[in-house]
Subunit: 145 residues, 2 copies
DNA sequence: CGGTATCCGTTCTGATACTG
DNA sequence: CAGTATCAGAACGGATACCG
């Protein structure tokens, strides 16, 4: 962080004609990369996507996210809580009940993650087709040699 | 997978703002999860973010993405090519020159990834503050015990 | 230059057992 | 119910060497 404004993010004015290729700061260990690593996590993404304007209990999250282990759900939730994206509420009852919900900050992230998941749903057919095409081409080449 | 329309997206009608809590299909191994795993990849995300309305050579990408190894860049680009998101063009010259650019499909994904990276830039201070706060609270508790 | 192939340590992750 | 602790196996990822 001692280098001043190396690769300072140039701000796009927003008008189409003035679209400007953004220079991302991709330095290892910088804030953005660290946060991106958290956000670009398989489980984090799903947790945030599911906490959509509602709170869920630990067991509900576990049931909804097929294939996640208790350990990974715990780890993921702790990271999200640490990052200020998720609020953890422990109710002093027996048996214990713990609710998770998005913080205001988490909600802002939810919006972009939501669009990412929706993109995936809308384009899954195209991606699947591309994969099939690529794989058949690859198989051909393997045969040719 | 034998349960038929398990978790079909329920449309929650009747809410005040008509906002609808989306029921994601989170089954392991389904298309969406597979694609999400690709998209939610540290290196994929950065590659797509950088291929913003321009093509880049292998070596240019490698230089721009701090910390990526040749191996991981190759692996990442092959996956993105397979998914139909990135186009790979080999120029028959010596020394070899290979250009990478987004496909039309890749451009549509770029838009949402761009907003994700921008979110990260805009909220890095808040996340950092939350982390610091969480860590100090954690340290306190450790002392109390 | 732009790869591929191989080796190998590290990191991640799930299974299991146990607790407030 | 909602964790924590531990451990072994799998996956990830870097380093190195070599090729068209």
């Amino acid at each position: 962080m001692e280098e001043g404004t190396l690769k300072s993010p140039t701000h796009c004015t927003g008008t189409e004609a003035e679209y400007e290729v953004r220079q991302w700061d991709t330095r290892e260990g910088c804030e953005v990369r660290q946060i991106l690593d958290r956000v670009a996590d398989k489980w984090s993404l799903l947790v945030i996507a599911l906490l959509d304007r509602r709170s869920l209990r630990f067991s509900e999250l576990r049931r909804e996210i097929d294939g996640i282990s208790q350990r990974m759900l715990t780890v993921t939730l702790r990271q999200l809580e640490r990052d200020g994206l998720v609020l953890r509420t422990v109710h002093p009852v027996v048996p214990p009940r713990v609710d998770y919900e998005l913080t205001p900050l988490g909600v802002t992230l939810h919006d972009t993650i939501r669009s990412l998941v929706i993109w995936t749903e809308e384009h899954q057919t195209e991606v699947a087709a591309a994969r099939a095409s690529y794989d058949s081409r690859t198989a051909e080449e393997a045969q040719a040699s």
